[in-house]
Subunit: 151 residues, 2 copies
DNA sequence: GGTCAAAGCTTGAGTTGCTGAAGCACCTGG
DNA sequence: CCAGGTGCTTCAGCAACTCAAGCTTTGACC
């Protein structure tokens, strides 16, 4: 494939711009859906990161922020009844965040209500879906820093 | 969903998860590069949005936030010497944000220092670049809400 | 067994991002 | 010229975020 002379290979700058625009639009769709359920984007992101029980410190790692920050976010999730703190077996220092049934319900509803995102997916062909998924899978480990390159 | 082939078409949920992960990783790379130059991600995002002179109100639209918020962000950019407020010809209410030479310099440096993103792009084949760029271009108008569907 | 460094979580101070309401300056239409 | 709308700023208030300091618990060392 790829023998059409009209399609030129995009430069890094062009790709960066395209990726940034798509990422920003996706995020706005996400934040909007979360807001409709009274959650900030940080809270919703945290909720998505605790589908499996996770210690506070590890959650901070997943969210890419300071541990002290997670305290406040989980405080709010807990006061909304969407998550709980549980004691860890074997280490009484550790507190494990566990999503509640209601939290899971809200999370699923938020994901279902990201209408722009769903529309965008519907408009893709099977080949495009496969290509996008494969590219994401290949690019993610590099982008997330699992390679010994920088840092 | 009973597909048994080796390359199965990813579901919406799988695509959403992949896209979210890539978007988050990209954003962290961006925020990290901006932080190295003493800019928050919002400030850097605003800087990128004023490569062409833009009135305050329009900038708020581009950033997807309240106009009053933009006042503070531009205040900080201005105090750092990265942007200026200029009077608009013909309407003295309007203030137009103009990036300075130093602002452009910093912006280019930030983009150049997004090493993980560049690494990820380097690892892509020409076909993948073309596919990704084309998918982004197709998906963006839908994702950004230019279709009369929801909302 | 006692001691001490280190790990996990929370608290407090301080900055930024963000919104909504109120206010001022300015434009536009009658 | 006056009324209403538009553009920007200010203010109060909350969420998110960081750093430094503090508390409890753990694990290792003497």
């Amino acid at each position: 494939m790829g023998s059409t002379a009209t399609t030129t290979v995009p430069t890094n700058a062009e790709l960066m711009e395209a990726l940034a625009a798509v990422g920003a639009a996706y995020f706005q769709d996400f934040a909007g859906a979360a807001a409709r359920h009274g959650l900030s984007s940080s809270q919703a992101k945290a909720l998505g990161a605790v589908q499996e029980p996770v210690p506070m410190r590890a959650l901070a790692g997943r969210l890419g922020c300071d541990a002290s920050n997670v305290t406040g976010i989980v405080d709010r999730l807990e006061s909304l009844g969407l998550a709980n703190r549980a004691a860890a077996a074997g280490d009484r220092r550790v507190k494990i965040v566990v999503i509640t049934a209601e939290g899971r319900e809200i999370l699923n509803r938020i994901r279902g209500e990201m209408s722009r995102t769903h529309q965008a997916f519907e408009a893709m062909t099977d080949e495009q879906r496969i290509a996008l998924h494969s590219i994401c899978g290949q690019v993610l480990p590099v982008l997330a820093g699992r390679t010994g390159g920088a840092q």
